[in-house]
Symmetry: none
Subunit: 212 residues, 4 copies
């Protein structure tokens, strides 16, 4: 790719028409990504898939990277909003929390979510991995990591009020790390999700227990 200029959207999709175009482009990009992978992604293919001209693409995005960035950011937002289920913790004691932890994890790691890792998830992971090659996307990724970890840490802080922020951040970081690892294993299709949920939850619990 080797893109240099600003990578922001060239215009706010203030008009309905524009919004639709942006959507169309993003959708097409996702499709091309799924079909041909990151190194098979080209503006020509995106435009063709979207049924527009390459020139039009540049009316809505300053360059190719911006398109991928948009997709990537949206994907990361999904992850954040997904996590908020875990994080929405009403005030409770550590004891109460630990007692309900299992249920809580069950609610988060529903079999449905993992039983059939939908193409969507497969795509997200694909994208996620692929992003490693674009240096410019690293900062987004790092910011995202920080966001996620903060969200988790804030949630845990409501329960483990005596823990230092450092500790909470550390544990959150680790939790997110093994969560991602779990995701990757499932998406890679190495193991089925159901039997793997047990060790995963045990690991999560064990890690959180270090905060007690």
């Amino acid at each position: 790719m080797a893109v240099k200029r600003n990578t922001e959207s060239r215009k706010q999709p203030s008009q309905e028409r524009s919004k639709k175009m942006v959507e169309k482009i993003l959708k097409a990009t996702r499709e091309v990504l799924l079909k041909d992978g990151v190194d098979g992604l080209s503006t020509r293919k995106i435009a063709a898939q979207a049924g527009i001209s390459t020139g039009s693409l540049y009316q809505y995005f300053p360059n190719k990277l911006a398109v991928v960035k948009a997709i990537y950011s949206a994907c990361l937002e999904d992850v954040i909003s997904d996590l908020e289920v875990l994080v929405d913790i009403p005030p409770m004691s550590i004891g109460e929390f630990m007692e309900t932890l299992d249920t809580r994890l069950d609610r988060f790691y529903t079999p449905e979510k993992y039983s059939e890792s939908s193409p969507d998830r497969a795509f997200e992971l694909e994208l996620f991995k692929a992003m490693n090659i674009f240096k410019e996307l690293r900062e987004i990724d790092e910011q995202h990591e920080r966001n996620v970890v903060n969200v988790l840490a804030n949630g845990l802080a409501k329960v483990f009020v005596d823990q230092s922020p450092d500790n909470l951040l550390r544990v959150s970081t680790y939790l997110y790390g093994i969560h991602t690892a779990f995701d990757e294993i499932l998406v890679a299709g190495i193991c089925e999700s159901a039997p793997l949920l047990i060790p995963h939850k045990k690991a999560m619990v064990a890690v959180i227990q270090t905060l007690e």
Copy 2:
């Protein structure tokens, strides 16, 4: 990239001179990878960084992919040989094993190994992630994953003799997953290794306990 030919080294570095050249090329490649990412890796840059001509590069490697493969494979071999410490389990009962597990993990996760995640390790992880986009390297990666998991499973089988191979493989897969996650966090420099070792070991233990 899309390379088709054989991607083995073009000649055995039988002579001292050749060996040095290969080293020089691999070193240069690592440097370019670190600086410009996979996306920015080109044979021209490698040659420039190594202070040789592009033609010379092709005297030692049949194509670009082969260079990356060489680096990648070496990196994976390191991982395997590293793991063998964990795997060398003398016959013992589950009880004995669980008792010594903590010591065992301490021996594996020595602070020295992680205290200063050397630039080398940082690079390896970079590479590791990046490889996801090259289909031909995926095979290597998947084979590696299988190797690692088998090594682990075989080790655990000596202790958990009653467990089904499936179960052992599953747990091993997961263990390797969170091991990698732990690695990545440390290499990314998000957390220091020492305090993170505690939750990580707890997680490992918890997962292994599911085999009891």
Copy 3:
């Protein structure tokens, strides 16, 4: 060269503009071929000669071979359509045919056609010879040879009804061979056409007489 993909024109020159571009490229290719030979033909030179960019060339042809193919095919078509004059034989007896053969050959080998072997013809012959090294063009050439010979044989079959197809094909092959030789001599400029027409026609007649 060694080109693999499809070697057809990338787009129908439906628009006037495209047609002009294709023409420009073909013209430039002819010029480069005449100046530097097949050996010196490169996409860069073609583009430079045509006053376009290398990229543009690939908008109209999928690869270098396709450009040469286009020129070559056009050249072969000319040959075929040229021959149709000879082939348009109304039903007649062998005696009648042999009597009119000389006239017939006169009509085919008009002095105008050969008096000024235009640069175009010179080029075509150049190309014709040169093509022998490109395997993919050989097929075209062989197919062309078969077409020409069939056309001739079918023509002769109308007169020499008792001859075996084998014989007709053999004689046609030979006739085409010496026709080409005649062409080459004239194009090479070794001899003037007018005086050479006499032995050539004698040879043609003598060969055809073997069918009587």
Copy 4:
């Protein structure tokens, strides 16, 4: 290729050793040419086939073209010496000559020579055609053509003493042209030689009769 410098042999093979080396190189080149064609010919392959180093090749030939030139010239000399059979005409009248012409042609076009177009002949023709792509070899070819035609014309001059040199040259040129065409047909394997000899000889005779 694109070779520019002098294309003469770098040294006279004064010493026995040198002569052997030159032979070895030429033999290897022929083998590579037969196997991989002109566009597959490289100094590396020649050296490998000859069992020497590329450097050594340049001790005996200034560049790649010189090697091909050497082979080509040798090949052309063979053609000349072959023709001398036809040309060695004792003084005789036109009548005598025409009477013996058929025998003469029989002696030249022996079935053995053509029945099994030996690999050698196949190679020569291959080379012959291939040379069309090397502008530098054209002059050799043209000189050769002139030589051959002169040889023929001189031979015919002994019989057709009243003919103008121009006429003799013209007829010789044409005779050589159709001779070459005949050769090509046989080498291409389109027709078997035996039945084709009849029309070919008829054509030769018819052409020579124009001198009467």
